[in-house]
Symmetry: C2
Subunit: 595 residues, 2 copies
């Protein structure tokens, strides 16, 4: 009882002060996030009169819930459809930004003589802009519907995905203690595989579950199921060695494809608002103002680096991908701050015990300053572009003009554009199917011991056991392998059609095409089998066995080909349908829970 | 980090299982609350395969949040206006029920040879029905809009208030270890005073704060301020020695008078649903199935007692206050179960370490059985009434018929009804003003030491210090004292008018009335001053001082009478306006928080 009172007291202090500060900051049109951080500093242990928080551990756990709900909400706003729409610009700008800022951050860290791990984390902290702060700022300036705002949201989505990858990578680096190119590639590949597989499986399952639950028309039930799936998936992701943030974001992105999206967003919003308030206040709690005085120079240098670096990188990225100068400048100015992701990365470094204590307050300080600057920067984008146009040397503006013209001239139109679209679609489809095959074999290897244990009463010979598991994985993969084969065949037909002009082979054209079109996919399939064999090395049976199994499977594939194709088509249609559903407007699920 | 993972894991297990069980229970049309409890038993430490919860302490804290949000939501649904409308029936039925069930529970406990404290807590557990379960059951039966349902809700509101009193009283009894009539009266009086004062002050302040915050049209901001006020008030209530449950209920009832009520309800609902799920699951966690086997007889006896006792007491209460037989039976049948309040009281006993361990599982078991019975009982109310009508001995039904007729004959109509209304209004007004006066003096006594400390540089003589504090309290109370005097004067005028008929005193009528009308309020005021003096005994200055102060105050009162009256009128109007505001429909505060 007494413990609970301590906790209620802490929560009361946090929420009361958060409430007061929120009102004050809103009154003076400053982002509320800043207010929360200031509230945290006020009640924190470093500022007089005294520490107002008794049960830091429990408050820390609530802050962790804040991260979960923040990332989950971000995932809900993420959408594969939206991502496809913003296209090239978002990718180019986000990648330019992250690479440049990682490098700048690292160099600044080394310049101040910090150790390598601090410098790497500093780079990662500077790499990603703050969705919360940008949305807030654009909202207050009334610019949310403008074109450059849409581009900014696209960049933010790509950044979120890349940041998730960065978090996974940083955890790996922190544990192994070094950056190993092979290791990094492997980690990223594993992460990509995990993300693709959970998105595919999740989008097949979760919206169906939610649609079933929504039929009961109870908000309470829907919320409990949504939270069950959210925390359940987070648990799975933690068990796989990734961060809670990744899990919450992914399950959010999966639920973004559900028809009940708007109801879910409405139900989760209060949870996010409450716990993210706690999260931002705890950031303030951890902030020791003395550190700010000690590290005033790094803070100023990093602030300038963030503002200038992001304007240049995002602006340049937008410009290079074909936006006009004015829009590019606005995108760059809008993205020039750091926020919640930087705090998440900073606390990752702290909890892994690989970064120094001063990194966190520096990140907070830089975030506070850049957040305050954001609205002014956005407003000054247009005047600055005008000034830049006048001040730029004639030679440079000539080059830039030429670049824009050249970019427009290479834009694909008509037939070529259609072909590129078809090829891209086939490549994506093959990649997804291969990812599922790889996952099945990795799963087989992972559960091998347990499966072997189960088989013991019937099959006791280890070599036979591995043959059963490996063969089972192969049969399970058949629908996807057949799909890959079919896609590759149509791809090679298309490529042959384009690349072997009739003029070259004369009357043999048809036969040559035929042979090439058959050889290419078969060669690719052999490659796939070799890849799979390599991945499942730990459960690979003897060579004779493999030959036997592969032969049997090929016979099975040929015999039941049409059944496998039908099954795969069903799965594909289900996936497509889910992705193409527009989320409904809120359909009143309030019935029984309105009390 | 590892700690947070444990916690996320616990939450994942709880929410996942809660989600699954919710769907199953909804599918078979059983109350979800039952499902949560079952889920708790499944993951609990007493059932195989193994304990699935690692961090029981943190989960316990989240369950505490569940109590806060449950009671807060209950408070939001409570409304002084609604309470006034259901009137007499709700009061008679609720009081009959609570008194009878307290007694039955106590007797059952003694019958099974349990110690006195266990028996008292058992009685308290059986006294209050479950709002959640009744609302759910009536909703599913499609009977929520019927007349008897409105009566049931009225009874539930009165029960909630009385239960809050019971919780405060039980805490007192548990600490002092005995039931002392004087002590109990004092405790209840103090509680009533605290409730009246916080309602009056709260209703004057809180809706104004919320209206100001709502102007910013941000759901996030409104929610944070609401939570700040909620937890802040809970903290105050805890500091005063009452339970969190009381605090949450009271601040909810205060916010029920705000214009933004519907927005607040929508924002708080997800928080309540999430944390009440955790609360009910933890109830299951605490349930040891072996105890149920051991205590199978008490459970059965108590179940029968709850069903029969509540049907009789609530039904009789409704009938005695003038409802017809069919409606009374429906009210009785609808209220015949126990639920969340019983758990709250059971955990109160456990946390105060005054009850035995077996009481909690018994309460849970009885709640589960009676909850399952509720829908069937409601459905069988009409057939049962019919059967009862036929089976009742002729003599009894004659008496009951006579009672109904007599009751109708004494209903006040016309002038007398108006007079009763006026008198009631004056009495309520006097009571509220007196409560505020008493609070000011108690506050003066409470803060005396601190005030004296502040005064030291100017007034060092302790007797002068107490004179200043006491006098200050008297001056502060003046507007309320003047209001009491004015109200009493008009009351006595009215009473005199009614009770001294002209026929009795002939031509002196006017003078007699005049004297009586002047003497009565002055006598009453002397009584008030004596009461106040008794309450503020610890800061009472010397007799000469008192005479001096009182005389001075009387002069002040006479001189500034009109100013005081105006100030009081302003306060009164503000209070009335807030109470008479209808809450608006949801006005979209979604603007900036829709992202």
């Amino acid at each position: 009882m007494h413990h609970a009172i301590d906790f209620i007291q802490d929560l009361a202090v946090i929420m009361l002060l958060a409430g007061i500060v929120t009102v004050i900051f809103n009154r003076f049109r400053q982002p509320v996030v800043l207010g929360y951080i200031v509230a945290g500093v006020i009640i924190g242990p470093y500022t007089p009169p005294f520490a107002l928080i008794h049960d830091e551990k429990t408050i820390g756990i609530l802050a962790e819930l804040g991260v979960v709900f923040l990332m989950f909400s971000l995932g809900l706003e993420f959408s594969l459809r939206k991502l496809a729409r913003v296209g090239v610009t978002a990718f180019v700008a986000a990648i330019t930004e992250i690479v440049l800022m990682l490098w700048i951050g690292y160099e600044i860290g080394r310049f101040f003589g910090w150790k390598a791990m601090d410098s790497i984390f500093l780079g990662a902290m500077l790499a990603v802009s703050s969705t919360t702060i940008i949305v807030k700022a654009l909202d207050e300036l009334g610019m949310k519907r403008e074109r450059f705002a849409q581009l900014i949201f696209g960049v933010l989505i790509v950044e979120d995905v890349l940041a998730i990858g960065m978090i996974a990578l940083l955890s790996g680096i922190a544990i192994s203690g070094q950056v190993d190119a092979g290791e990094a590639t492997f980690t990223l590949g594993k992460l990509l595989l995990f993300m693709v597989v959970s998105l595919v499986v999740g989008i097949l399952l979760v919206p169906r579950i939610l649609a079933y639950v929504a039929k009961f028309k109870s908000d309470e039930m829907l919320l409990v199921v949504v939270l069950g799936l959210c925390f359940g998936f987070c648990l799975l992701v933690i068990q796989m060695g990734y961060s809670v943030a990744l899990g919450a974001f992914l399950i959010g992105a999966i639920m973004a494809e559900a028809r009940e999206l708007h109801t879910i967003e409405r139900l989760v919003a209060p949870l996010r608002d409450m716990f993210s308030a706690v999260f931002f206040v705890t950031i303030g709690l951890l902030l020791d103002p003395h550190v700010l005085v000690t590290y005033v120079w790094p803070i100023l240098v990093i602030t300038v680096a963030v503002v200038v670096g992001k304007i240049v990188s995002c602006g340049l990225g937008s410009y290079l991908s074909g936006q006009d100068g004015r829009t590019s400048m606005r995108v760059g100015m809008g993205l020039s701050q750091i926020g919640e992701f930087s705090f998440i990365i900073a606390s990752l470094g702290l909890s892994l015990k690989v970064t120094s204590d001063f990194l966190y307050p520096i990140a907070v300080a830089v975030s506070v300053i850049t957040t305050l600057l954001t609205p002014y920067l956005i407003k000054s984008a247009d005047p600055f572009t005008g000034w830049l146009g006048r001040a730029m040397p004639g030679r440079l503006s000539y080059v830039l003009g030429q670049y824009t013209q050249w970019l427009q001239s290479i834009q694909l139109t008509g037939d070529s554009a259609t072909i590129v679209t078809i090829v891209r679609r086939i490549v994506v489809s093959v990649a997804i199917n291969l990812a599922l095959v790889v996952t099945i074999f990795l799963g087989g290897a992972f559960f091998y011991r347990r499966l072997a244990e189960l088989m013991k009463p019937w099959v006791s010979d280890p070599s036979l056991q591995s043959a059963v598991v490996w063969g089972g994985a192969l049969v399970l993969s058949l629908p996807f392998l057949i799909a890959v084969y079919r896609k590759l065949k149509s791809l090679s037909l298309l490529l042959v059609e384009l690349s072997v002009p009739p003029s070259l082979t004369g009357r043999y054209t048809f036969q040559v095409r035929r042979v090439v079109a058959e050889i290419l996919p078969i060669a690719a399939m052999v490659g796939v089998i070799l890849l799979v064999a390599a991945l499942s090395a730990s459960i690979l049976p003897s060579t004779e066995m493999i030959v036997l199994i592969v032969a049997g499977t090929v016979v099975l594939a040929i015999l039941m080909r049409s059944w496998f194709v039908r099954m795969h088509a069903k799965l594909q249609i289900a996936l497509k349908e889910t992705l193409e559903h527009q989320p409904d407007g809120e359909h009143g699920g309030g019935g029984s829970s309105s009390h």
